[in-house]
């Protein structure tokens, strides 16, 4: 497996790719907070927020529908919000029968449900775009600049660095289980659920030991190369005037969104 197997970064020459990672993280977070602050049913503001996302897609050179294609990931969670359709007091819109309940959809409930979905959908698109135009190590570096404690960013950097190595390790374990699980066609191999859980547990324990021993070797190798407690980067981030201007512009647009939502 290659080291960037998990990365969502798309190499392109674009305005968003060149932007300082701090700006991208900051604007993404402000945009998501702004979505959460918009009142229910602020359709015009939602529309403009969507246009903001579309514009960001355009500026990323990834194609206008890039974030849309991957935004389905947050949808299964919508199930959890479905109860507001029936529970908010309001004018009944339609009633239907489901299993043993008579469910009535109210207008207030529908308004709230759709608003929640739109907020989630807009927010996740911005987050998708963020990692598509920012290399993950740059993202971690930006978090460090934004005062996230160094111990956390270092752990995250290690997690990212060794994730693909340990994923390979997991695949080896899974392959080993597979190759020892021969079965007559039509019948299952192995014992009951408890036995299978024990096999999975032993695999997790084995993975732990291999990871632990690997971390020892990694540490020794790092000491040998002069590690003294913190990581250095050859890629110092510098805010240029264009970065400041973009931040100010994006914040102004989001501010106008908020006013539109309150009118």
């Amino acid at each position: 497996m290659h080291f960037d197997a998990f990365d969502r970064y798309h190499e392109k020459e674009s305005f968003l790719h060149r932007l300082d990672p701090r700006v991208k993280v900051l604007v993404t977070v402000i945009f998501i907070v702004s979505n959460a602050l918009l009142p229910d049913g602020a359709w015009i503001a939602f529309l403009f927020a969507w246009l903001f996302v579309l514009a960001a897609n355009l500026f990323s050179q990834l194609g206008i529908g890039y974030s849309l294609k991957r935004s389905i990931i947050a949808l299964p969670f919508a199930l959890i919000a479905i109860t507001v359709l029936f529970s908010m007091p309001g004018k009944p819109l339609s009633t239907f029968h489901f299993l043993m309940w008579n469910l009535t959809i109210t207008d207030a409930g529908l308004l709230r449900f759709v608003s929640i979905l739109i907020r989630a959908w807009l927010s996740v698109q911005m987050a998708i775009l963020l990692v598509a135009v920012t290399r993950f190590p740059d993202l971690i570096h930006a978090l460090e600049h934004l005062r996230v404690p160094a111990i956390l960013t270092t752990i995250i950097a290690f997690l990212y660095r060794y994730l693909f190595v340990l994923t390979d390790e997991v695949f080896r374990l899974l392959r080993a289980r597979e190759s020892r699980s021969a079965a007559v066609p039509g019948s299952r191999s192995g014992g009951g659920v408890l036995w299978r859980a024990k096999v999975a547990g032993n695999m997790a324990g084995q993975l732990f030991l291999r990871s632990y021993e690997r971390s020892d070797r990694i540490y020794n190798a790092m000491i040998a190369r002069g590690y003294a407690g913190h990581l250095y980067t050859l890629n110092p981030h510098e805010m240029k005037s264009g970065d400041y201007f973009t931040t100010a512009f994006a914040v102004a647009v989001i501010f106008i969104l908020q006013i539109l939502g309150r009118l």
């Binding site: 929640i116 996740v124 660095r161 994923t167 997991v170 695999m203 997790a204 690997r214």
Partner: protein, 311 residues
């Protein structure tokens, strides 16, 4: 696929801004503690170790075993991380895992990340480690049994907290979300418990030196037992109560003013903020709550005393 999203990760948009901010505040305070404790207790050696361990938890979540009807059990890892790495390091490791899941895979939101870390990283570690420490020095069977219970409870605690946050945000209805979430996670928790127990048994058998017993002072360990015990007790007491009588919980929250605060955005709360507990009925509810907390506290202290006397 390499990575499959888990059901406890709340996406952005599903929690109100106030609930998100309060959860972030709690999470930041606890993580701050964890960082200062880890910095004090561990050398620079621990940082690569914790990083690789975070990758281990992430990768271990890919190990699954078929249960029935196409469903499979797999590991979330909060309790296991706290037991093998210690509570503070376990919390930091889980924080890193949840942060990467949100940043890289959009599994869980950014504004709600505080809530996700709290539900899946901090509470699970407190329960896992607290209950595990409470049986320090006991036989292996007792220990593994308690670890199983702790792993199951940690998943239930995460599910309960998630439900409460969704409800306070006005996203879900309490009488549906609590039984649904707790029902599903009672099963997910079984998978978690089985894998955690078998993994720990395997580690104890092959490398008993890795699971240190006396790394913490007696006082710190007692505090963990206390914290884990309280959270577990809350889950045990609150879950059946909330499932059986969600209206009761809703009424208490309404009387206390939680509901209006949670469901409105803060700019609406501040101008017409009224002190909610001046009403006579509300005052009595609060008194009842305080008495309840006192009773629970006394019971916990008595249990802790009894445990101390035994060990």
């Amino acid at each position: 696929m390499l990575y499959t999203p888990a059901p406890l990760h709340i996406p952005d948009g599903f929690l109100s801004i106030l609930v998100s901010v309060v959860c972030w505040a709690i999470t930041i305070i606890v993580i701050g503690f964890a960082i200062s404790k880890t910095n004090k207790a561990l050398g620079e050696k621990q940082i690569p170790l914790m990083g690789v361990m975070a990758a281990f938890i992430f990768a271990a979540q890919m190990i699954n075993f078929p249960v029935a009807g196409g469903t499979s059990g797999h590991l979330l890892g909060g309790a296991l991380a706290a037991i093998v790495l210690g509570p503070w390091a376990g919390m930091l490791v889980m924080t890193a895992v949840i942060a990467v899941q949100a940043l890289l895979f959009q599994d869980g939101g950014l504004l709600v990340m505080g809530a996700n870390i709290l539900n899946m990283g901090l509470v699970t570690a407190a329960i896992g480690y607290g209950l595990y420490r409470s049986v320090a020095g006991q036989s292996k069977t007792v220990k593994l049994t308690v670890v199983g219970i702790a792993a199951w409870l940690s998943v239930m605690a995460g599910a309960l907290l998630t439900s409460l946050q969704l409800w306070l945000s006005g996203t879900s209805q309490l009488e549906i979300v609590i039984p649904a979430m707790l029902g599903v996670h009672a099963l997910i928790g079984l998978g978690e418990a089985l894998i955690t127990v078998f993994a720990l048994a395997f580690i104890i058998q092959t490398r008993p030196d890795l699971i240190g017993e006396g790394s913490e002072s007696a006082k710190a360990s007692r505090n963990w037992v206390f914290a884990g015990g309280i959270v577990s007790l809350l889950v045990v007491l609150l879950s059946p109560l909330a499932s059986a009588d969600p209206d009761g919980l809703e009424r208490v929250a309404k009387d206390l003013g939680f509901l209006s605060v949670g469901q409105d955005a803060p700019y609406q709360v501040i101008p017409d903020y009224t002190v909610p507990f001046l009403g006579e009925t509300a005052l009595s509810t609060i008194l009842a709550g305080v008495v309840g907390i006192l009773v629970v506290g006394v019971i916990i202290v008595l249990i802790a005393r009894g445990m101390k006397a035994k060990s």
